[in-house]
Symmetry: C2
Subunit: 278 residues, 2 copies
């Protein structure tokens, strides 16, 4: 789920924090779902898929490319991100997709609408993720799949361990908690699905990683994090919650720039993943 855009950001243009979000695709962020999606597509090419908290829409668009005879709906709480998502789809020349505004807690769809309902890095940010999963299950057809992938922020590991990067880690965890989220979402995903009323036998649990270590990945990662520290809504929220000063954020940004130049630099995090068979 995207943060609000700052007023200076133009509709259809990526918000300050989008560099990292827009690296996400179905291939790198929903790999645990893809074998099941392909087998479902074989028996029904006209699959319908809902991507909840679609943000800039890069994952939604790659799903739409994977089910060319199907249809993808991307939904996000933030209406300001929708023009950007539509621009991403248009640039990829993807037509079997639409984006609309809506909350994961009250999806604007009838029961049993979609074959597949997916979310990525959404449950980590919200207060009662089991309610969200219950709502995702509601709009999913019997025999369909609910899939989620959520990071476990406390597994994030960065090298070299520059002091300002450790402070940044605490800042991000603090922001997540202050916003009502759960930094340890990855390890709790299974428990949340059970709390949503799903049987253990319906759930397939797995884990994967996200990492940045090639020159190009380091550049994008550093630039994305510096953008967040030097502008945009994340910085505003951090200031509002008293989680640091403008000077602190500038020091952290400089540390990320230094990190990106180091050849021993790497950043990795573990993600929890579930597939729920409805």
């Amino acid at each position: 789920m995207e943060q609000d855009q700052t007023p200076s950001e133009k509709p259809g243009h990526p918000p300050a924090q989008a560099i990292l979000h827009e690296l996400r695709t179905a291939e790198n962020s929903a790999a645990h779902l893809l074998p099941k999606l392909h087998s479902m597509k074989e028996s029904n090419p006209h699959l319908t898929l809902l991507d909840v908290g679609a943000g800039s829409g890069t994952i939604s668009v790659s799903f739409a490319q994977l089910i060319p005879d199907g249809h993808v709906t991307g939904i996000d709480l933030n209406p300001n991100i929708l023009p950007r998502a539509r621009a991403v789809a248009e640039k990829a020349d993807v037509k079997n997709i639409e984006f609309q505004q809506g909350s994961i807690y009250k999806l604007p769809f009838a029961d049993e609408t979609f074959d597949v309902t997916f979310c990525h890095q959404v449950l980590i940010h919200i207060g009662t993720p089991w309610d969200a999963l219950r709502e995702m299950l509601r709009v999913t057809k019997a025999g369909g799949i609910v899939a989620a992938r959520e990071g476990d922020y406390e597994t994030e590991c960065v090298w070299p361990e520059l002091p300002e990067l450790c402070k940044f880690h605490k800042l991000m965890a603090g922001l997540m908690s202050a916003g009502g989220g759960t930094p340890t979402a990855g390890r709790q995903l299974l428990s949340w699905a059970l709390k949503a009323g799903v049987e253990r036998s319906q759930i397939t649990l797995s884990y994967s990683t996200t990492s940045y270590h090639t020159p190009s990945e380091k550049k994008h990662c550093s630039q994305g994090l510096c953008d967040q520290l030097r502008g945009g809504s994340l910085r505003e929220k951090a200031l509002k919650f008293g989680l640091g000063s403008e000077n602190d954020f500038e020091e952290m940004a400089k540390a990320w720039e230094e990190w990106a130049e180091r050849e021993d630099a790497c950043l990795a995090m573990l993600h929890g993943e579930i597939l729920v068979q409805k």
Copy 2:
């Protein structure tokens, strides 16, 4: 690298802490190496592979099965584990393998002996892992591969977060550090390879996870950890280093038993992986 066996353990039988170690195979513990191994095998079926810190030998044996016209040498610092490794090979009817005693710091082989030199969860336990990598490079042929996979213990995440399991986590990290090891090996693996004198362009870095969450995995995991807490060398070392009392260890073991019975239970850890092209 295996811990020493207690005197009560019989040669050829698994030591107390072996349940988890013996779940390891090339497929689940060296997946990053397998595509390269297969392509090397195509041009040379007679590959030679060295598995350093082979322990009970389950990874070595599965390597030997993957290169049936090649040959695997497993080496371990602890001579008491060698009969167990030979028994594992014999049970699998694998002949193209041998096990011998030796140190990763002074491998008993001439320069450029092996096509592939591998280690798993060895560098995490030793004081100067870059020296070990340099030694692994020495015994590897020009054009060959050095591969390593090391956990990052600080990324271990367990659910539910029973207090005794958090104490167990600290105990294991304390033991690793007290023994001269590095609990954050996974994130440092790249930096260690650079420190061993390798160029960044020779190194392919990746990450993967190890996890336990199915009923069978939870049973094996709990049983393996309880065995370590109730007997064997790990318990002895923990007592020696003053990292807890017998009562503490019994409480931790009970918590692992409770964990294994919970349907929301899971345990996962991130591992760093390198392939070094010599």
